[in-house]
Symmetry: C2
Subunit: 364 residues, 2 copies
């Protein structure tokens, strides 16, 4: 934590749930897609332990939707996505890298096929709307690109099924991973997916009307009382334990989808074209020179790193740590690092410079 | 202020000057272009008074540069800019709206012509790089688009000339507004412009190498001792006193350049084409239905507003306040509002709802 408060303004948007979040023990914010995102409540460690044993309500309104609507919506979605969306079907979400021409990562959204002519990209932290709009403008595509009033609210944790069943009926628990459907609530149809940015399981509700935010929060909160529900948020410890990458932290425009370990989400052998395909094919052919890897970092408990930390072997720089934190459950300092492939094999011991101190680390 | 600290991570970038800023009385941050931006030190009011009487050193690294380089750099810069850049000359900066096809504002950078085939957009808070890259990709332009390692550092206030003259020699004070040139410093050539986001006058140094940040800060700081220099930042009170608009606060994609009062920066009658031109011409012909206006809001001192505040006349909604704060020097609550033109004439009295309380306000 920087320790310095966030100065609020219209530009740094609050969410339909901010009033509840701020009254539920929030201890720190970050900003993501020009909007406030909670990052901790009691503490990273307490939040993590609770997430793994109970259930949490997460304000993830920052997962903004870039909506493509119109006759060319699918054409544009397909062009932008490394994953083949030519046969994407309504009711399903598809995690996909979005690359620039050289294969560098621009975002890694969930693409949601809402209807044949309507797609949402539920985005990570970069203005995908502008990329989509620039392409659509120049290609003269017949597609309207907007950011609709949609604010995801996540229910995450092992007891998520129980809470959701109590609020929306047992049918909601039949949803398969990354599938979504519509469920009645107070006379509204809510779009609900089995998804979320943890490995603990759960749901995301794509609330389509900000003015309903506090009612929705309160109804779920009430049902959650029986399950020790707390307000929570994507947790740094839990995501590193689970190996979840964060755009802007572990991957940037400087890193290709292959270097980020996302080849399984890149449809390089399908017949369709997408931006970045040629570069990724060439890179697959030539072989990678760097890639993202997990690390165990020796020594005493570290604080979450806030900038890249240099890695070296025998004085030779071999990459840098992009995220790292101490995991109490593993009793280890966990990290993700972008490392030279040649130097950083599995089991390799490397040096990591954190806050001016050199530590040993093992590449996994 | 939200009162909640910012959680730091690689994604929310610190700057080459962060260490000095945080040791110089910083009291709040915001996030702008995925990077930390100081927003207050002693207090908004003290900072403002000091800025008007002395000189401040501002970390405005968040003014990221979108670099267009190559044979088609000018072609793309011209296409993106509402202001005619066809004859832009090296050494000059040009404030320009950037619009989407319907005229809606995407950003309002300073376009800097560095060389015939090299332009920088010194941007407000949206990922202009993605807009530029989408257009360049689809139009197959021969231009490389990057974010170079450039971190602006501003010297603002009535004593800015003295400080700059002491550090860089008296020639720097000959710079005309929005002109830039190169000045020697410790064996480096620094690009320096007379510009900055205040009405108090001053300079911006486009530092081209992050590793020099602390040395540069320290040298200017040392020279500033004779002039009561403090660390500062763009100040909400001073910008509202001066009528400076902030992208994301007072203008968004929902507002055209004309509605934002920027017609004088739109070259609608030049022969060249740019994105949004047709929509802006049509709107000029048809007349505006809303526009940005200044307000004086009655009653006791208000805290800075953090969300839009609805405006009405006789119960009819007529727009909303986008920014507002109390000015001690004017002894008035100042605001900017996007208002229906028909209802909101000069001198008109309207109602403004701030924090659940209705106040009277006068449209200027």
């Amino acid at each position: 934590m920087s320790g310095f408060p966030v100065f609020a303004s219209r530009r740094v948007r609050s969410t339909p749930f901010s009033a509840r979040i701020e009254a539920s023990g929030l201890s720190a914010y970050t900003v993501y897609n020009h909007m406030l995102l909670p990052t901790s409540f009691a503490s990273l460690e307490e939040d993590c332990a609770h997430l793994k044993r109970a259930v949490q309500l997460w304000d993830v309104s920052v997962e903004r939707q870039v909506q493509l609507k119109g006759p060319d919506a699918r054409k544009l979605a397909v062009l932008m996505s490394a994953r083949d969306l030519t046969k994407a079907v309504p009711g399903k979400g598809y995690y996909t890298p979005i690359c620039q021409a050289d294969g560098g990562m621009l975002n890694d959204p969930i693409a949601l096929c809402i209807a044949e002519d309507l797609f949402w990209f539920s985005i990570a932290d970069s203005d995908m709307l502008l990329w989509a709009a620039g392409l659509a403008h120049a290609y003269q595509l017949d597609v309207e690109i907007t950011e609709p009033d949609v604010s995801p609210l996540a229910i995450q944790g092992p007891l998520a099924n129980q809470v959701m069943s109590d609020v929306f009926g047992p049918a909601v628990t039949a949803l398969k991973f990354f599938a979504f459907d519509y469920f009645d609530w107070r006379g509204h149809k809510l779009m609900i997916a089995r998804s979320g940015w943890s490995k603990q399981g759960g749901f995301e509700i794509y609330l389509h009307d900000s003015t309903l935010g506090l009612n929705l929060w309160d109804d779920i909160w009430e049902a959650g009382r029986a399950y020790d529900m707390r307000a929570g948020c994507p947790n740094l410890i839990e995501r590193l334990e689970g190996g979840l990458l964060s755009y802007g932290n572990d991957m940037t425009r400087e890193d290709t989808a292959l270097e980020c370990g996302l080849e399984k989400f890149c449809s390089l052998d399908s017949g369709h074209e997408f931006i970045g395909k040629h570069a990724l094919l060439a890179q697959r052919e030539a072989g990678l020179t760097k890639h993202i890897a997990s690390l165990h970092i020796d020594g005493a408990k570290i604080a979450p790193i806030t900038k890249i930390a240099r890695c070296s072997i025998a004085g030779q720089q071999c990459g840098f740590v992009t995220s790292a934190v101490y995991s109490p459950d593993f009793d280890l300092n966990l990290g993700l690092a972008m490392l030279s492939i040649e130097q950083a094999e599995n089991g390799q011991r490397i040096n990591v410079e954190i806050e001016g101190q050199i530590r040993k680390a093992t590449v996994l």
